[in-house]
C-alpha cells in the first residue's frame, strides 16, 4: 500500500498549534501571500489569537467533513505550508485550499506536489467523486500548477474581487474521479 502522505518533494503531516501559529504570524507579514490566498481584507492577527484559533480547531476533534494538514519538505523537514480539505459528505465532493508561506519556496514545485498528494488522498482514500477549487485570476502561478494536476476550468465569477481599485474574476476549477483515474493510467506516477 502506498504511503499517502509522502510525495516527491514534500510530506503531509499533522497541524501543530505552536509551530503553526508562529509560522502564520510570519507569513501574514507578506501581503502578497495573503492576497493570493484570500480576497477578504488582509489582517494583522496577534500570535495569541492565531494560536487560540489553531487550538480550537485541534480541540474539535475528528470531523469527517474536514482534513487539515501541515506540509514539510522531505529534504530538510522544513514547515513550508498548509493543505486544507473540506468534504461535502452527501455529494461526495471536496474543496481544497493550500498555501506556501514564504516566497522563496514558491515556483519550486512544492504546490504541485501538495496538490497531487491531495488528489490521491481524496480519490483513493476518501473515495470521493469530485475535487474543486477556486483561485483569483491574478494568481497565474497557481493556475499553471492546477492545470498540470488535471483540474479543468469550469467558469469565472466576474469581478467578484476588488483590489487596488480594479475588479478581478475568480476562476473555478474541478476534477472528476474518472478524469483523475485516467491520468493515473496514462501518466507517470
Amino acid at each position: 500500500m502506498k504511503d499517502l502522505f509522502r510525495g516527491e518533494l514534500v510530506r503531509l503531516t499533522l497541524v501543530e498549534p505552536e509551530t503553526g501559529a508562529k509560522a502564520s504570524l510570519l507569513w501574514q507579514r507578506d501581503s502578497e501571500f495573503h492576497r493570493l490566498l484570500d480576497n477578504n481584507p488582509a489582517r494583522s492577527n496577534s500570535e495569541k489569537k492565531i494560536k487560540e484559533w489553531f487550538e480550537k480547531e485541534a480541540e474539535s476533534g475528528f470531523k469527517p467533513e474536514r482534513f487539515a494538514f501541515s506540509v514539510r519538505t522531505l529534504a530538510d523537514d522544513r514547515y513550508i505550508g498548509f493543505l486544507s480539505v473540506w468534504v461535502d459528505l452527501i455529494h461526495s465532493e471536496a474543496w481544497v485550499g493550500l498555501g506556501i508561506g514564504v516566497r522563496e519556496d514558491w515556483s519550486k514545485g512544492y504546490g504541485t506536489d501538495m496538490m497531487r498528494l491531495c488528489q490521491q488522498y481524496v480519490f483513493s482514500e476518501l473515495c470521493l467523486e469530485r475535487l474543486s477549487l477556486g483561485l483569483f485570476e491574478y494568481n497565474s502561478r497557481a493556475l499553471r500548477s492546477y492545470e498540470k494536476c488535471g483540474f479543468r476550468p469550469e467558469g469565472r465569477t466576474r469581478n467578484d474581487t476588488l483590489r487596488e481599485g480594479k475588479r478581478y474574476d475568480s476562476l473555478w476549477m474541478g476534477i472528476l474521479r474518472e478524469e483523475w483515474l485516467q491520468m493515473q493510467d496514462g501518466g507517470v506516477k
Binding site: 469527517p64 467533513e65 459528505l89 452527501i90 455529494h91 461526495s92 476518501l126 473515495c127
Partner: protein, 186 residues
Amino acid sequence: MKDIYTGKFVRLSAFDPEEMSKAWSRWYRNSEYVRLLNSSARPMLSPKAELKWMEEEVSEMTPGGYFFAIRTLADDTLIGELVLDVVDWGGRDAFVGLSIGETEYWNKGYGTDVMNILLRFAFAEVNLKRVSLGVFEYNPRAIRSYEKAGFRHEGRLRHLLRREGRRWDNLYMGILREEWLELDHD
C-alpha cells in the same frame, strides 16, 4: 424533483421531541414493544425524561443523522418512528432503526412500506452505498418485513440476548445500493 417522503400507507414527517416524548412513554408501557426493540431492559421514562435526550439528539441535524416520525396517509396518525444513522462515510453505510408503536398497525404491511420509503431516502437523497440493520432472532415479523424490502442476511451475533431464560441471536441484515436498484420500484 420527485417526492421522497411518501409511501403507500404512510409518510415521513417531522420528529417533534414534544410530541414524540409523549408517544414514546405510551409505547414503552407495552412490554412486547420494548422487548422487540431493545436488547437489554429499558426503564419506563416519563415524557419529560424522554424529551431531554430527544431534544439533544434530534436538534443536531448533522449530515449523518436523520430522525422521522411516521404518520398514516389516511388520517395523519402518528404510529411510529424511524432513524437513519450513518456509521461510516468511507463505506457510505448507515444503520436504520424503526418501530411502530401503535400495535393496531402491526401485520398490515406498514413496516415494509416505511422501509421502502427509507431505502429510497437513503439511496436517492443521502446517496449511501448500503443500509444495515440489526434485528432480534425472536422478531420473525420484522425479519420477514425486512426480507420483503430486499435486505439480505449477513450474519449474527450468537447469544447476544437473554430473555425468558434463553439466549437469542442478534441478526445483521444489509442491502446494497445495486441490489436496491434492481428491485421493482413504483
